[in-house]
Symmetry: C2
Subunit: 626 residues, 2 copies
């Protein structure tokens, strides 16, 4: 569906993207989406309430966690506007039911979606794409924010537990790493006994090219895997890509420097500091461009940084660090230590100097270990269980405190904590609008809490999690103004002002699109041996043709075009007992294939309540018994 | 999972149900769920806003439409608290991933969920079950409202387009019918050419026994298909089961008295009145109990009502009637005519008299046709495109107007329209709290609108639908106080006050539960030839065992018990690359089975962020290559 869909609006896409890029390159966004509706005004009395008929001011894209989705919220109302299927089938949209999307999902019917990452141009969210990872099955998906659909899923070989996802200020690359180490073996099962963990297991850093150049040329922006690094068998947790002062670096937290492979909750918490990873990705790219990778493993160019000084360094950071987040100007690299109540700030300037001086503490796993005291700028006593830090546009940072169930606000430069607000309860990630980019928008902070006991009406033993919205615009103190439950469990979220988005409202009619038809008289059923192809159009209130007869065992292909050009008039098509539903939004052509192995009479019908005669919008598939 | 789950809390379930039933039988509800939190106070200033820390007052259960789910909202905030998977797999909860729930879903991975139906005791919602139908695949599911999980899916043979779902005041039966007619054939494909539609196609009414007696005895309330009627090949749309004055009757709307099988949007809209169905289900049950069914077709007892006078009657109703809804006292049967701007009110008393007098207009398809003028009490000019009617506790009725995009409020008895409010836009169903039962609660009305253009931030060519909340407590006029988008598309919803619900907060520890273990030292891996069984416990922050080695090709069964007894501490378990995720809520045992056909090293990990050491809660599955 992705390929087809993109084809459908390639013309518009080119215009929009080029327009946007020119706008951004010129220093401002030229696209203006101000809607006819008024937008929300937040008042103290009504918190985040957005009265009927008013629009939210911002979008939030949150991962859907184990549901494998990307969830679109409106802020400040916190209403879910759309759930975008990414790693799991979704009959509602036909995702995973059309041949194109079935192929995209492969043999997998779920994903563990963690870290939505917004595309950026010159360090600002540009509203083009949102990428998101699947920790369980080591994949990265690309969601097109014009159509709000998943347009690519990239399998990333060699690593296990693909957990982090971060991009550079121009979104040329995506960086990720293995949360769990594993044997790395070419062309054979990656089996090695756990007794050999320290020798046979590796961490992996993967670098993905987003094909930004392709996007600029109006292409679909297909990602491809650029190269990987093998790294020590620690557990790589979060990543952050440098910007401004730190441009060209990518940093990764890691726990389990102990290299334990059992009882991790005890055995990986023994050392006071863990060795985290600092990578010079320009140096790595230069090596790759010169064809000097050390191996090609399962089709991926792999660098062993032990053999190439200047690519990877280890940096000790207090206890089981979780998040690492770089300040908007790139100067400060902020590590949150799960098991030490501090955020450690590393100075980019000092880090670069330490690397330039080559004055290392020691060498571990063949990699130089930077001296902690050489690069540390500050240790901020933020509170217990710090996990993640985000930044606003006023020089402040915000750190989530899982154990303390609070968010700490502190100042860059003075390193003073100036506010702390309780959350309910056990906050994981936090999201500030634009808070991981060079140009944060501030204003909103959402705390993604993991527990919700007593916060919402009870719904049985499986509790929801809680998302809490803070207003940052009222001075030093953060103000809690709204909260909503969420099915378990969004991990990270990104917030973007509505005016930076440029969604399509329909797919344009494209008479040259393969297999589409645009009027009832073009509808037809074509038989070629046992292959039957149906060219169908749908429009209020009929499906044409509305009678199809095939023989048992025929292979049936249906191309279904919604010929409406009015926004909001979508049609679905279900075939009873054939486990098929697909949807076609205005101007879209969708595609169904199945083998008519069950004989009998099977109604098909529109599944979107599209008109007063919606229920009359049906037909019969007759499968004649052999 | 359903079977296992129920087993787990059977003891509690018995106590709760018996307690509740006694309470209800005594004329009041004795169970009091008033939470520690304050509950929402609605103010004019804040509309439906529920400030952080306050609870909603009511639950709304809405069908998830093509997503095959049941969605739990809180009112008045309209926040989605929990999405319950019903007809489609959901990795988040393990539904469709455990052997028990895979079996429940069969070969199907989606459903078109339409009409949630709340269980009732003496005509009042009792908070025990919510049943919901799958229009696409002709199934009815039972959702247990103590655990908020799907506990049974019943396939209903012989009919196509299972659309309506209604229950009697004691929820002894569920009634449904075929929206689409089809051949009815025993033991062979139901194939017949469309040319023979009028002779070979039939409508079907299906009556399901909810096993209420079983529920009362503390059993699981498993539904079974009681019997079916064959009826004329019209398109049966909605159903309503009699109560009070009309107890023992079930009424069904139908369009397509024209018996068309093509171009239905034209050909089924030719007659000014359609023949709807009136059924005396006590008479039908008596026949079944006496073993006097006319046939057994695909395992179902079937009555041909043409052969048994006194079971089924046809009743002409103006043009393509959609909803039929019976007033709380059972006196008034209200038909909404899609293509005629009226609600037709039929008097139960007159209907019974007409049947007793046997003075019919004619006979069609072998069934007596009741004279319209004999039974009609009123025709209310509600507005254009009436679809559904609900009732409050003050003697008012509310009818949705699809074409007019409005809800009309009118008075029972005077038949006067006293208010009409616009909705945005094209409302299908409406839900008033308890509004289809003998004891409506009134207060809230939700309009389930099909369009949302300009109501929410744009999200690409696939628009959400809109749910709008009206406050009915302010006198004659309905007041719009909140609106939320929803993924396409909830059809119907039921609203129940929170105090009538009795959800579980955990599953009790049950040491006698088969395959469960309750401490780390009971954890084990048992090999029997190529069958490997793992007995695992999960608790913050470890999975025991955390190393499992099997041989390629082994069949692996895992029983995983969450031994926590603290509410809100759920754990998930994902196995990388094996397309497996399951969840275990506190005290729950879940179950995974797979063949270890891929050799290599596969991390498994907890997918619910359960503690500061959640990420350390992992293990390794090693599959040794052959």
């Amino acid at each position: 569906m992705g390929v087809l869909k993109f084809g459908r609006y390639k013309g518009i896409a080119i215009a929009v993207i080029i327009g946007l890029l020119i706008g951004v390159a010129g220093g401002k966004f030229t696209w203006d989406s101000t809607p006819a509706q008024t937008t929300a005004q937040v008042s103290a009395a009504s918190g985040g309430f957005v009265p009927p008929g008013q629009l939210d001011t911002d979008y939030m894209f949150a991962s859907g966690g184990q549901a494998g989705t990307l969830i679109t919220y409106g802020l400040p109302s916190m209403r879910i506007i759309k759930t975008i299927p990414v790693f799991a089938p979704d009959a509602r949209t036909g995702f995973g039911f059309t041949p194109e999307t079935k192929k995209m999902l492969g043999d997998l019917s779920w994903g563990d979606a963690h870290h939505p990452t917004m595309s950026q141009t010159q360090g600002t969210y540009d509203g083009n794409f949102c990428w998101i990872n699947d920790k369980a099955n080591n994949r990265i998906a690309q969601v097109d924010l014009r159509s709000f659909t998943t347009t690519q899923i990239l399998n990333v070989p060699n690593l296990m537990g693909l957990h982090s996802l971060s991009t550079d200020p121009d979104s040329k690359y995506l960086f990720t790493a293995s949360e769990y180490s594993a044997p790395v073996v070419d062309g054979k099962p990656n089996y090695a006994p756990l007794e050999s963990y320290k020798d046979s297991y590796y961490g992996i850093v993967s670098v993905v090219d987003t094909n930004k150049a392709g996007v600029q040329a109006g292409q679909s922006g297909k990602m491809n895997l650029d190269y990987e690094l093998i790294v020590p068998p620690y557990d790589y947790d979060l990543a952050s890509v440098g910007k401004g002062a730190s441009a060209g670096l990518a940093v990764f937290t890691a726990y389990n420097s102990e290299e334990a492979s059992t009882d991790l909750e005890k055995n990986s918490a023994k050392f006071d500091r863990d060795l985290t990873l600092v990578m010079d990705y320009n140096a790595a790219q230069k090596l790759i461009d010169a064809g000097q990778q050390d191996a090609v493993i399962n089709g991926v160019k792999v660098i062993d940084p032990r053999k190439h000084p200047g690519i990877a360094y280890l940096l000790p950071i207090p206890k089981n660090p979780h998040g690492v987040d770089i300040s908007p100007d790139g100067q400060w690299i902020c590590y949150s230590s799960k098991l030490d109540p501090v955020v450690t700030v590393v100075s980019t300037e000092k880090l670069k100097k330490a690397i330039a001086n080559q004055d290392y503490a020691t060498t571990t796993w063949g990699l130089p270990v930077i001296k902690y005291q050489d690069v540390q700028e500050a240790q901020i006593p933020v509170g217990v269980g710090p996990l993640h830090t985000q930044f606003d546009d006023q020089g402040y940072a915000y750190t989530s405190l899982f154990v303390e169930s609070a968010v700490a606000k502190w100042q860059l430069g003075t390193w003073k904590v100036i506010d702390k607000e309780s959350v309910n309860y056990n906050v994981g990630h936090i999201a500030v609008a634009g808070g991981d980019s060079m140009h944060p928008f501030g204003h909103w902070l959402v705390a993604l809490d993991k527990m919700s006991l007593n916060r919402f009406l009870p719904v049985g033993p499986g509790y929801p999690v809680t998302e809490q919205l803070f207003d940052l615009s009222g001075g030093a103190k953060m103000k809690l103004i709204n909260e909503v439950p969420s099915d378990r469990e969004p991990h990270y979220a990104s917030i973007i002002p509505a005016k930076l988005m440029h969604p399509l409202s329909i797919y344009q009619k494209d008479a040259s699109r393969p297999n589409s038809i645009w009027s009832d008289d073009q509808a037809k059923v074509v038989r070629n041996g046992k292959d039957v192809t149906v060219y169908m159009d749908v429009v209020r209130s009929h499906l044409t043709p509305d009678q199809i007869e095939v023989n048992q065992g025929d292979h049936v292909t249906m191309y279904i075009t919604n010929i409406e050009q009015q926004p909001n008039v979508s049609h679905g098509i279900a075939i009873s007992d054939y486990n098929i539903n697909a949807a076609a939004d205005p101007g879209e052509t969708t595609h169904i294939e199945f083998t008519a192995d069950k004989a009998g009479t099977f109604p098909y019908y529109c599944t979107d309540f599209c008109s007063a005669l919606h229920e009359e919008m049906m037909g019969y598939l007759l499968v004649k018994p052999n």
